[in-house]
């Protein structure tokens, strides 16, 4: 599936949840399914700055595609990073770098895009795109 196809599928999934509580429960559930980063990569080098909680993100290049593993010590943040990994992992670097992430607003998580210090989502997106470009340059 392309990045946009995954985004559309998520928008569809989330449309079943009217209630914020059900949305967050689903996000928390998704967090439990995130491809977990290896313990040895849970270092300062792979921490995403700009989050109130600790978020680790590790990128790898395989067969010309970038794959992400991640973790967080806050459950909702883990869910958010899981969403981002679901959408962006397993694609070519230029697809990741050029992706327009419209699903966040559409699934009702727009407040997570506001650039207050607590918000890591913008930082996550930025970091994932930077990693994609860096891995492409190295390849």
């Amino acid at each position: 599936m392309t990045i946009n196809e995954i985004q559309d599928e998520l928008i569809d999934d989330f449309s079943f949840y009217e209630d914020w509580m059900e949305k967050y429960e689903y996000i928390i559930q998704l967090g439990k399914e995130v491809p977990l980063i290896k313990e040895e990569y849970k270092t300062d080098e792979y921490i995403i700055k700009g989050c109130q909680s600790k978020v680790w993100l590790y990128p790898e290049m395989k067969d010309g595609k970038v794959y992400f593993t991640a973790d967080s010590d806050a459950i909702i943040t883990k869910g958010l990073v899981s969403l981002m990994v679901k959408v962006l992992s397993g694609h070519k670097p230029e697809e990741i770098a050029g992706a327009e992430l419209y699903f966040v607003d559409k699934i009702g998580l727009k407040e997570h895009l506001s650039p207050t210090r607590a918000n890591g989502l913008l930082s996550m997106i930025k970091q994932m795109k930077l990693y994609a470009l860096a891995l492409k340059a190295r390849a």
Partner: protein, 427 residues
């Protein structure tokens, strides 16, 4: 009108009943704050983030609007009518602030942008004049970054040394250790009256006396104190006292540096520019007298003038009543929250004011904050600009509830229910 003095020492373990709650008309007070009627995420706003900023009564909101429609004009500079009335109004605030903290002289009240600027001003100006390489500065382990970083910057520049008063597991300063921090090289001590992260009320009068015994002046950070209790800088014998307008129901962008006249006179100015001068030539410029020496440029005129409305509002109710009500509410909230399974309070000093910081085992404070927000409840999560405090307690941050005079027991009940619901979702 009767009122009650509250002994902070006993509030945590006792549930005290006050007739204050009949004198203190909470519904009338709440009706004065328009924002309290609004909804957030489809729920009535429950605003418990008063340590970050307080809401404004309509008296202050109207004053701001009236300022711009009736009198807006630059201050201290003009000969025309509007400039005279706005200058007078600005100086009325200065006089009211003098009374508010019982300073000896009006010119000891410098109007600044806020607490952070006030502290930077002292670090810079007092630092430039009196602190040298190898000198020592005492701060405490519970300070807000605004009372750490300016001193660190001074130490980097001058090669002086920062000494830190440690605290115990309850979040109380170790006074014995404090006494031992003084040496002949100590030049200033700077610490908070009330901790924004822990709610601890420090024994500042006693601590100032100890410092003065060594000939060391003291700066007190009153940002989390002035809205909760009466301040008398002469009684405390504080050398500098700082606070912000927006945390005492006033506008943002204005704050106070109180300094004893002889200290302020001995310090060089902070910023150069208009109003802080007497005469300017390219050969030489002479500086203005206090307070203007430290007030370069056009101030935040509107905020300065409208701070009077906030002071009047507070004094109309009476700080003694506000304190009694808030102490009762803090006690109620602490007891109610203590029933949440796995909750741990961070900051359990005997003497506390308005703040409850907590974590719940098995959860991250950020997650609790997000869910409370969905329920219309505004708290703050994280390190609260006090990272050393979080490090001391070995936690990433806390959920912080900070109360003000318009909060109610019903709001506290909703908070507790919200925390329990969040914990169920997260564990």
């Amino acid at each position: 009108m009767t009122y009650f003095r509250v002994d902070c020492a006993t509030f945590v373990s006792h549930h005290m009943k006050f007739e204050t709650l009949e004198i203190f008309d909470i519904q009338k007070i709440r009706s004065d704050f328009p924002i309290l009627k609004r909804e957030v995420n489809g729920k009535p706003l429950i605003y418990l983030d008063n340590g970050a900023t307080t809401q404004k009564p309509k008296q202050v909101i109207d004053a701001i609007s009236n300022y711009y429609s009736d009198m807006n004009s630059n201050v201290h500079r003009g000969v025309h009518y509007l400039s005279q009335i706005s200058t007078d109004a600005f100086e009325v605030t200065r006089r009211k602030l003098q009374e508010f903290i019982h300073a000896a002289h009006e010119h000891e009240i410098i109007l600044t942008k806020g607490t952070t600027e006030s502290i930077n001003m002292v670090a810079s100006c007092y630092g430039r004049a009196f602190i040298d390489e190898g000198d020592e500065i005492i701060i405490s382990a519970m300070e807000h970054h605004s009372n750490i970083v300016p001193w660190q910057m001074l130490c980097d520049e001058k090669g002086c040394v920062l000494k830190v008063i440690p605290m115990n597991d309850r979040g109380e300063l170790d006074i014995e250790a404090y006494k031992n921090l003084f040496s002949e090289r100590t030049k200033i001590a700077s610490f908070t009256y009330v901790s924004n992260a822990l709610g601890t009320v420090n024994p500042v009068r006693e601590m100032i006396a100890i410092a003065h015994g060594h000939g060391v002046p003291v700066l007190i950070d009153g940002a989390q104190a002035v809205q909760h209790m009466a301040i008398d800088v002469q009684d405390l014998d504080a050398d500098f006292f700082v606070f912000s307008g927006h945390k005492m129901y006033g506008p943002t962008g204005v704050g106070v540096l109180y300094g004893k006249e002889k200290l302020l006179n001995a310090m060089p100015p902070y910023q150069g520019g208009g109003d802080m001068i007497k005469d300017v030539t390219f050969a030489k410029t002479t500086y203005n007298d206090l307070p203007f020496k430290f007030e370069a440029g056009t101030p935040n005129i509107e905020a300065g003038i409208c701070l009077t409305a906030a002071i009047d509002y507070i004094q109309g109710i009476g700080l003694e009543h506000i304190k009694a009500y808030e102490d009762e509410l803090l006690s109620y909230a602490t007891q109610a929250l203590s029933k949440v399974e796995g909750i741990r309070f961070i900051g359990t000093a005997i003497h506390k004011s308005s703040v409850i910081s907590f974590v719940v085992d098995g959860t991250h404070p950020y997650d609790i904050g997000v869910i409370l927000d969905k329920l219309g409840i505004a708290v703050r999560t994280g390190h609260h600009c006090a990272q050393p405090v979080m490090e001391r307690f070995g936690i990433p941050g806390t959920v912080r509830v900070s109360l003000a005079m318009y909060n109610t027991k019903e709001e506290v009940d909703a908070l507790v229910a919200g925390v329990e619901r969040a914990v169920r979702m997260l564990r």
